[in-house]
């Protein structure tokens, strides 16, 4: 499955413009890159790498995420001319990241992720890996939004603006996902 229907509830450009000024920056940067400005793409990378990182972290083993982020941006650099709407760079690269994660699982054999516990790192990191695993066990629509919010530190409006989802969808996903996560973590007994 490449994308859920919930994820495809994209906001209109005007709506996105109301949420944030970033679409205007995207448009300028994408046009600059298409005219040969490579620095413009580095700026796009700085803006969108956390989004791609979060999307991948919700789906693939941590050890693979950094390399995949680079691969996705290199692919995007080569295929940028195929982007019809410059304002839709965020949703476009988010979709590339989701598809790449699906391809990763399709191609890779069954592997056991060497997490921080096995590496023998400190307890804080191992706890983070455990919680991440719990988030990954949630429905797809929730896990991505929760990772972007809790791991990457993005706010709801930022998530909506960069992924192209409506603010309402993000808010619902955050609320329901957090509720499920609390149940999994057993917050009633304390973290």
């Amino acid at each position: 499955m490449y994308a859920t229907a919930d994820m495809l509830l994209t906001s209109t450009p005007a709506h996105a413009a109301e949420q944030s000024q970033e679409p205007a920056i995207e448009v300028v940067l994408v046009r600059a890159v298409l005219q040969g400005d490579r620095e413009g793409f580095s700026r796009l990378y700085d803006l969108y790498a956390p989004l791609v990182h979060g999307i991948l972290l919700a789906r693939v083993p941590r050890a693979e995420v950094d390399d995949l982020v680079q691969d996705i941006f290199l692919h995007a650099f080569k295929k940028l001319h195929t982007l019809r709407d410059e304002a839709a760079f965020g949703p476009w690269i988010a979709m590339i990241a989701r598809n790449r994660a699906v391809d990763f699982h399709r191609r890779s054999k069954v592997t056991v992720e060497i997490n921080d516990e096995l590496r023998g790192s400190d307890q804080h990191d191992s706890r983070a890996a455990e919680i991440l695993e719990l988030i990954r066990s949630l429905p797809e629509a929730y896990r991505e939004t929760l990772v972007l919010r809790l791991v990457e530190g993005m706010t709801g409006p930022e998530i909506a603006a960069r992924t192209g989802l409506t603010a309402a969808s993000v808010r619902v996903n955050l609320h329901r996902g957090m509720k499920l996560l609390r149940q999994q973590l057993g917050f009633m007994e304390g973290l």
């Binding site: 490579r38 793409f41 580095s42 990378y45 700085d46 790498a49 956390p50 990182h53 979060g54 972290l57 941590r62 950094d66 982020v69 680079q70 941006f73 290199l74 650099f77 804080h124 990191d125 706890r127 983070a128 890996a129 919680i131 991440l132 990772v147 919010r149 809790l150 791991v151 990457e152 530190g153 706010t155 709801g156 409006p157 808010r171 955050l174 609320h175 957090m178 509720k179 996560l181 609390r182 917050f187 973290l191």
Partner: protein, 163 residues
């Protein structure tokens, strides 16, 4: 549960969410420089291609000019019959008397080699080969004729009777 804090980090902070943020923050994206592929410089390749093209063009033009070299002018004289003496035509041009009149001029692209231009030895070999070929053809014809007569004996007999 404080939804505002979860939504946009405003309002009363939720201690549980803050704790989760603190723990999961260790997995946050660590900036890494993006290594974009180097832009290819096509100028040397284009320069080489242009040089080759120019060289080919120059070579082509040179060959074309060389093949069209002008042959020496040939003179054609038209002999008039003795019974009808006609005055020799005067040259139209106002050339001097020392220059003979040019009545026709041919452009010869390439002088064709005449058969006589072959060396004597090669010519003898060619003649011998021709004779051998003719002999082989004659033999073949005779054999074919013999086969024909043997396969159709009745017709031949009849022909003899008629004859």
């Amino acid at each position: 549960m404080n939804d505002d804090y979860l939504w946009d980090k405003t309002g009363q902070p939720d201690p549980q969410i803050q704790q989760l943020e603190e723990i999961l923050g260790t997995l946050r994206y660590q900036p890494r420089p993006l290594a974009l592929p180097k832009k290819r410089n096509y100028f040397p390749l284009l320069a080489i291609a242009a040089s080759l093209l120019l060289a080919l063009l120059a070579g082509g033009i040179w060959l074309r000019i060389g093949s069209h070299t002008e042959a020496p002018p040939q003179q054609v004289r038209v002999e008039q019959p003795a019974s009808k003496p006609i005055e020799a035509p005067k040259p139209v041009t106002s050339g001097s008397a020392s220059n003979p009149p040019i009545l026709a001029r041919n452009r010869i692209h390439k002088p064709r080699s005449a058969p006589s231009a072959l060396p004597k030895r090669e010519r003898e070999e060619a003649l011998m080969a021709k004779e051998q070929l003719m002999l082989a053809l004659r033999l073949t014809t005779e054999k074919l004729h013999l086969v024909h007569t043997r396969t159709q004996p009745n017709q031949i007999k009849n022909q003899h009777r008629v004859g």
